[in-house]
């Protein structure tokens, strides 16, 4: 046996790599036993494109802008008082809501599957498949076993066996740095990039159970969605509104409070 292990690539991966100009030699993938998946090929292509665009600048990351159409960022404030405390819980809730909303806004092409958690600098990519089918508990677990640290980002990537045209919804925790939001540029392959800001406490007008208005202390975050011409302005508005509804109604629908 040769000491350098020869990785076996499926025909589909080889064709995709050829079409996208990605070299497979030496690549260790996120599939079973390190096999390179179609998602990996698209990710490598994205990073390579970024490096090229940066003219060799220090380190490529998901946050590096892709070449392509101009991008716009829409920002909303969401009351997350009902969401369980903790960065992971918040991210899990946002991912869950965003995936559901994206499916609603784009019934024909959901974001696909698999969560990719990418450490911001030099970290190892970890893929958890089928993000859109995980429960909140499943998402939370996935986030907790994934690399942590400032700037950790989540990509809701294409499904196993996905088509090259499938796109990723990147989710980025900007709260670690204390930012209210970041206008996070999209990477190649992203459908949109969602930044989750630092939770802040606000005195806010709330509607009480009896319908009367009152003043309460609420925990709020900013969600900033960066998108390009793949998504219409109306679809983005619909999606963000759905995310807000879902997050703000969370405690009610599951019948439990934060712990």
């Amino acid at each position: 046996m040769n000491s350098t292990r020869r990785h076996v690539h499926t025909p589909r991966v080889r064709r995709l790599a050829r079409d996208h100009g990605v070299a497979l030699d030496g690549l260790v993938g996120t599939g079973p036993r390190g096999r390179v998946t179609t998602t990996d090929v698209l990710h490598v292509e994205a990073v390579t494109t970024l490096s090229r665009n940066e003219m060799g600048a220090a380190q490529p990351s998901r946050a590096t802008p892709a070449a392509g159409p101009s991008q716009t960022t829409a920002v909303i404030e969401v009351d997350v008082t009902r969401v369980a405390k903790g960065t992971h819980a918040l991210l899990a809730a946002v991912v869950e809501a965003a995936v559901a909303a994206l499916r609603q806004a784009l019934p024909d092409r959901g974001p696909g599957v698999g969560i990719r958690v990418v450490a911001h600098e030099g970290g190892r990519a970890r893929t958890i498949r089928d993000a859109d089918r995980l429960s909140m508990a499943g998402l939370l677990h996935a986030l907790e076993i994934a690399p942590d640290g400032p700037g950790a980002g989540i990509g809701v990537g294409p499904r196993h066996g996905a088509q090259p045209e499938d796109r990723t919804l990147a989710v980025h925790d900007a709260g670690g740095e204390g930012f209210l939001f970041e206008s996070l540029p999209m990477a190649v392959g992203d459908l949109a990039a969602l930044s989750v800001g630092a939770p802040v406490e606000r005195v806010a007008v709330i509607v009480q159970p009896d319908g009367e208005r009152g003043i309460g202390v609420r925990t709020c975050v900013h969600l900033a969605l960066t998108y390009d011409d793949q998504l219409s302005r109306a679809a983005v508005a619909k999606m963000l509104a759905a995310v807000r509804t879902r997050l703000e109604g969370l405690g009610q629908s599951v019948g439990g409070g934060s712990s």
Partner: protein
């Protein structure tokens, strides 16, 4: 729309064509007075009379010989071979005569003939009355081979088979005779050589035929609860074969599984696997896997027959394991 059983759908399909075309006749053992040993021809004698619905002696060669002669001389017969296993005793007529006449006469003589037959296992009928023989016939150029899996398809494909100018082997799955489903009112005419996507999915393509279709569908629903979105295709027609639908599905999912009731060696899925390896190779994201009965005669004991035939559970676990390895 009305509920119709698979067995009643057979009679409805034949009756629909007999009303339309008086050249259509039915011959076979017990097809007239008894309404068929599986009750698939009930009512046809009453409606069309003994000149068009004809009981024969217990001789498969006589049935097919008479039907072939009738087809050569202008009728459009439907002949029943009670159990598909019995093709073994009239195979010379099928292979050397019926399948080759059009070719050997330079197209001067066509055989618009349907051979309907009770096919498949699951009913504890033992090794000589349970076989799935589509692949025997598939190997012979000159015969079309169809196997419907729903009552509506029975009516439509029967009509298409009767209207076709070539011999068609029409395999009715015995295990499905009692199955009921909604069937549209009025005339139904389907198209030979077309597969149907029974469930759309993105992660894996599961091909099925006859009684394996509901099992594949159940497996796909089970897989969906575990995050695998499988596409289930009902092949329906082996000759001609709808390769376009199959290849398009594999291009989408990257993975192909076949669920076959026949013994593994040279089952219909082997031919499709070869076609996909040839024409869909660059779409494959893993090996093609065939789920079949082992290469053994079918046992008659309940537990053993259940054990060897593909089940919803064995399909689901095979697909899940394959996608995770």
């Amino acid at each position: 729309m009305a509920q119709l059983s698979y067995r009643d759908a057979v009679a409805r399909g034949i009756a629909q064509e007999m009303r339309r075309d008086d050249r259509v006749v039915l011959v076979g053992e017990d097809v007239a007075g008894a309404g068929g040993v599986f009750k698939t021809t009930v009512g046809l004698l009453d409606e069309f009379g003994p000149h068009r619905v004809i009981d024969t002696p217990i001789s498969e060669q006589a049935i097919l010989g008479a039907a072939m002669g009738a087809a050569m001389t202008g009728l459009r017969p439907v002949a029943e071979i009670m159990f598909s296993d019995f093709f073994a005793v009239c195979w010379d007529l099928v292979v050397n005569q019926i399948a080759k006449t059009r070719y050997m006469t330079g197209g001067q003589v066509t055989l618009p003939l349907v051979i309907k037959t009770g096919n498949g296992g699951g009913l504890r009928f033992g090794a000589q009355h349970s076989q799935s023989i589509e692949n025997w016939a598939m190997a012979v150029p000159g015969i079309k081979v169809v196997t419907p899996s729903t009552p509506e398809d029975v009516v439509g494909l029967m009509a298409a088979a009767i209207r076709d100018d070539d011999p068609v082997l029409f395999c009715e799955h015995k295990g499905l005779y009692s199955m009921k489903a909604e069937v549209a009112d009025g005339e139904i005419v389907d198209t030979l050589g077309t597969a149907k996507v029974r469930r759309a999915g993105r992660d894996a393509t599961i091909l099925s035929l006859g009684m394996m279709m509901p099992r594949a569908l159940a497996a796909a629903e089970d897989l969906a609860t575990r995050g695998i979105d499988a596409e289930v295709i009902d092949v329906r027609s082996l000759i001609p074969l709808d390769t376009r639908t199959i290849l398009a599905s594999v291009a989408k999912t990257g993975r192909l599984f076949t669920v076959e009731e026949n013994p593994q060696v040279l089952g219909w899925g082997a031919e499709i696997a070869a076609i996909v390896a040839d024409e869909g190779f660059w779409d494959l994201d893993g090996p093609v896997q065939r789920i079949t009965t082992p290469h053994i005669p079918l046992p008659s004991a309940d537990s053993l027959e259940d054990l060897v035939m593909p089940s919803a559970e064995s399909v689901a676990s095979t697909v899940e394991k394959a996608l995770q390895s």
